[in-house]
Symmetry: C2
Amino acid sequence: MSAETLERRRESPARARILDTATRLFYAEGVHPVGIDRIIAEAGVAKATFYHHFPAKDELVRAYLEAEHGRQRAAAEMLRAASAGPREALLSLFDHLGETGAGPMFRGCPFTNAAAEYPDPAHPVRRTVAGYRRWSRELFRDLLAGCGHPDPEGTSAILMMIRDGIVVGSDLDDPDALRPLVRDAAVRVLDAPVPPA
Amino acid sequence: MSAETLERRRESPARARILDTATRLFYAEGVHPVGIDRIIAEAGVAKATFYHHFPAKDELVRAYLEAEHGRQRAAAEMLRAASAGPREALLSLFDHLGETGAGPMFRGCPFTNAAAEYPDPAHPVRRTVAGYRRWSRELFRDLLAGCGHPDPEGTSAILMMIRDGIVVGSDLDDPDALRPLVRDAAVRVLDAPVPPA
DNA sequence: ACGGTACCAGACAGATCTGTCTACGATCGG
DNA sequence: CCGATCGTAGACAGATCTGTCTGGTACCGT
């Protein structure tokens, strides 16, 4: 198969319709409860077309998560560019997280939600989730290093805890009660004295 | 139906076998992927017996979560009793969380995992999850109030974020790297100056 | 004009799943 | 001894699900 063929296939409007529909349904209702039949019906696509673009449902799940990863990378890059410095970028990342979590369509983190449906850590979907989380943690770490934090490694892991807590809590508890605490939480972790250890 | 009948039914060994098996399988593999047929086969119980004790699968899921809630209540009470004061109790709760997360069978929080499989917030299973989270948050709040913290309300919500971050991270990232950071994270949140707000 | 590719429509196999049902044995209080 | 209850074993209906396959249409580069 030629490179142009692969390229054309990746840009196919049918493929885009499948991926858009899957993104909407997977995020709103979960992966396993949403069947292929439903996706192709709502995308207006034939079954053969679906299996032409995606060899199996799991590959569609992976593509859904990869696309989400791409969107988050772009959003993070925009926030970083609009911020005065690394510390402001970090804090606006958390503000953004709190705002997203208070939106009406928020249903938690697509990655952790998907991971909950794939118990096997060796599964390709789980590896995709792991890749996203690695990127997220490294983003925190690099911004911390950029603003001269004495412990970027450990603090990035603790910021990751805060991040997970915001997305889980915004989904399962009251997101409006959580939102005003988001920046406070990040600042507490950022400005706390690092233990001697 | 008499009160004794209900009591006998609740203590039935067949019911206990069903619940134990369901607990093991639901936690390890998720709720939807584990079918009734598999549960009754591994529990050594007839199908009619299952539907005699549980009107539907969702009720079994609820019972599984309620039982887990009970175990966590007992564990928290033990830790509280063994601690010198509320602050020590709080910190040992987090230590306990980190240790559990590093165990070989750890698969994340049973409640958030179950919630990820039930998108509808009005579903009985989701209400059960919400009840557990309310209890957990109030436990934090009361311990904070007990050790004279100036902002038990907001800080309990931030500790809840840390809690969620520990269970998610222990499942999806490297639990052994996370464990030494757990107490540090809790202390940073506990001892940070409360913003003027 | 022709071959390759993309696409639609839908039947189909084979394997799930939940929940109901029949039929029968064991135990135990009254 | 009798009726209620608890239990086992398993067939069954009805609705899923994934992935394959057939058949036909349309475009596009050569």
